[in-house]
Amino acid sequence: MTAIQDRPAAPTAPKHAASDKSRSEARLAWMLAGPAFAVMLLVTAYPILQAFYESLFDYRLTDPANRSFTGLTNYGVILTDPVWWDAFGVTVLITVVTVAVELVLGFALALVMVQALKGLRPVLRAAILIPYAVITVVSAFAWQFAFAPDSGFVNSWFSFLGVAPDTDWFGSPGSAIFVICLAEIWKTTPFISLLLLAGLAQVPEVLQEAAKVDGATWWQRMRKVTIPNMKAAIMVALLFRTLDAFRVFDSVYVMTAGANGTEVLSFLAYRQTIARLEIGLGSAVSVLLFISVVLICALFVKGFKVDLSQARGE
């Protein structure tokens, strides 16, 4: 049984001197990818470097006269302030909860899609994808209206569960974060289920049949055949969603504007940069947020040995 866990090794290119053909192919690849690479540098690397540069200054947009170089002081201020750590905690909480729930739900939806009748599959896929096609701000407003005590229907529909008619969902941290997570899960589960569907399609049918012949139950096949064979796809889906969830902004902005203990890191960056116009401090928050995301990425890629090419179903 253990033998089938190992995927057949991918054919590796011979190590010795590259042929002319492969060299010209590499050149062609660079020529094709080069312009896109240059544009990416321009639109991502440049703003990141600019933000890092600004973060070294005490600089307020409306007070250019008092601008001064302060080195890493901004980072010290942020990392020693409970405001940052509160926002960090809320962000991690939202990330862990949404990604965990989405993984389970997304996997279930992927199984439904893969096992649905062929004729039904496109319809099902479209239906499941609809929430993902909705603009995040719109979905956030929809959920906010649903849970609002004055205009929402949730309080009256769920009165049988003991929900009081005047429950103020956005009034306390716990319930507000619950609604934010709900909106995020509803919206992005389709994304994770699509990635997992691609993974499911990679599991060789022969292995499934062999396991069936050996008398494996559905659960045994799931644990010993399906999941090990799509581990790479699961990790890629997890990585993408974690990075996304860590940068949650729209739902928080629309539902609570960061009030009542729901402030997340990207909202903190927004408040310092856009609302307070503290370009230096806000850039430092953004850079720290960026570093957090890079660390998550490194953890997944190095720690869990995620092969990003799996995302393309190669």
Binding site: L61, T62, D63, T73, W84, G171, A259, I274
Partner: protein, 437 residues
């Protein structure tokens, strides 16, 4: 095959975008400056009064300029953000802007306001209430043109206060009305929500007690700003807020009560007293017309000056409103300033008061018969505006207000003394950039 179709679709779309952008460019070239220059006035949302004044002033200009209005977001903080973003990028389309007074020092300090032409300052401040001039100035100089001026009154229900033994024709103190309301089993409505309105209330209490939040107003270096939040008047303000919040006279949802919620609680007779802006009068008369409150409720409304903190000191009611600034990158600053003089004329501000309920900054408007017929409390508003004091003037107003809201909320958790110290430490820390907000 599928790929091919997709490709063709994509290139078709790209071509369409290209054609459209070329057309847009050509269109941009074609429309050169023809006719009188158009001045853009960025207005805060209202009931159409500013758009009407823009029309009237366009007609009065006799072809020298036309005024077009552009509406800003509803929230005052969002208005500031949008204007700052555009002004920092030298947007020349901002000729005139309706500014909330607390942000005027920040705009002035950043150089976002075009200087007033000689003679304008004298003309636009003639016959204007003192609080509006103070609110339109920075470091003792007029930097904006006073437009309309708002203030809070003490509103009460005559029937509920009749047997309280209070003489409301004379100034009353906070202690008097809280004690009277407790004895009668009714409520005193004030804005306890964590919002700018909490700052308005706190500042009015501190100023009424003879104190100031910023003791060296006009200081442009944030690290040198000094606060008076631990001085006796500020501790006294905290005592009154805590006394009301903890007393049975506090409204049921005091920590989330805003101006609208409070105006409804006075309409319903749940509260006997309320400090609030004059919009509550338009609101209750409209509600009586529509029949959502009994028709005799407006007649039961009484009003007097904002309560004082000390019996020996007249109160310093809140000051609000809108002043007009001219953008530093405007192509026609002289015409824009000429337009502000028309917009803020006694006639136009009286019209704005009468039609939209926003009190004029000009004394002359308060003797306008149309205004007096619709707003019988106009003389009290004028008296209140004469006594009113602006919120602390600093280029870092958002930090001061935000820090105060964080520490003085919820009002029932205020401990006079320690809360003052916490607010002082937080705001100074934020201004010295040692702490986040």
């Amino acid at each position: 095959m599928r790929l091919q179709r997709w490709r063709r679709g994509r290139s078709g779309a790209a071509a369409a975008v290209l054609v459209l952008s070329v057309l847009a460019l050509l269109g941009g070239c074609a429309s050169g400056p023809v006719g009188p220059p158009t001045l853009t006035w960025y207005i805060n949302p209202d009931d159409g009064g500013q758009a009407e004044i823009a029309k009237r002033c366009t007609d009065a200009a006799g072809g020298r300029y036309t005024i077009a209005t552009s509406t800003l977001p509803r929230d005052s903080g969002d208005q500031r953000q949008e204007l700052v973003r555009r002004l920092a990028a030298n947007d020349s389309s901002i000729d005139i802007m309706s500014l909330d007074p607390p942000y005027i020092p920040e705009f002035a300090e950043a150089g976002f306001l075009a200087p007033l032409p000689p003679g304008t300052a004298a003309r636009v401040s003639e016959g204007v209430v003192p609080s509006a001039i103070e609110g339109a100035s920075w470091q003792g100089q007029l930097v904006t043109v006073p437009f309309w001026a708002n203030t809070q009154l003490l509103w009460y229900r005559k029937s509920l206060v009749a047997d309280m033994g209070l003489d409301l024709t004379r100034p009353v103190t906070w202690d008097q009305i809280i004690d009277a309301a407790v004895a009668k089993g009714t409520k005193v409505a004030a804005q306890g929500k964590r919002a700018e309105s909490l700052m308005v209330w706190t500042n009015a209490l501190i100023r009424s007690g003879g104190g100031q939040i910023i003791t060296n107003p006009g200081e442009s270096n944030p690290k040198l700003v000094q606060l008076g939040l631990t001085d006796p008047p500020a501790v006294e303000a905290a005592r009154i807020m805590s006394k009301l919040a903890k007393s049975p006279a506090a409204p049921p949802a005091f920590s989330t009560a805003d101006e609208d919620a409070n105006s409804e609680s006075l309409q319903a007779g749940e509260a006997a007293f309320m400090v609030n802006w004059p919009f509550v009068w338009s609101k209750v008369t409209k509600a009586a017309e529509e029949g959502s409150v009994p028709a005799d409720v407006p007649n039961d409304y009484g009003w007097t000056l904002f309560p004082s903190v000390r019996p020996d000191l007249p109160s310093a009611p809140p000051y609000g409103g809108i002043n007009l600034g001219v953008g530093h990158s405007s192509l026609h600053p002289d015409l824009a300033y000429a337009a502000t003089e028309c917009i803020t004329s006694a006639q136009n501000t009286a019209y704005y008061f009468e039609s939209n309920g926003n009190p004029s900054a000009r004394v002359a408007s308060y003797s306008d018969p149309a205004v007096l017929a619709k707003y019988p409390m106009a003389p009290v508003i004028l008296q209140s505006l004469t006594q009113a004091k602006p919120r602390p003037q600093t280029a870092y107003y958002a930090e001061v207000s935000g820090g105060l809201q964080r520490t003085f909320h919820p009002p029932e958790a205020i401990v006079p003394g320690p809360t003052n110290q916490a607010a002082q430490d937080l705001i100074l820390g934020v201004l010295r950039k040692d702490r986040l907000l």
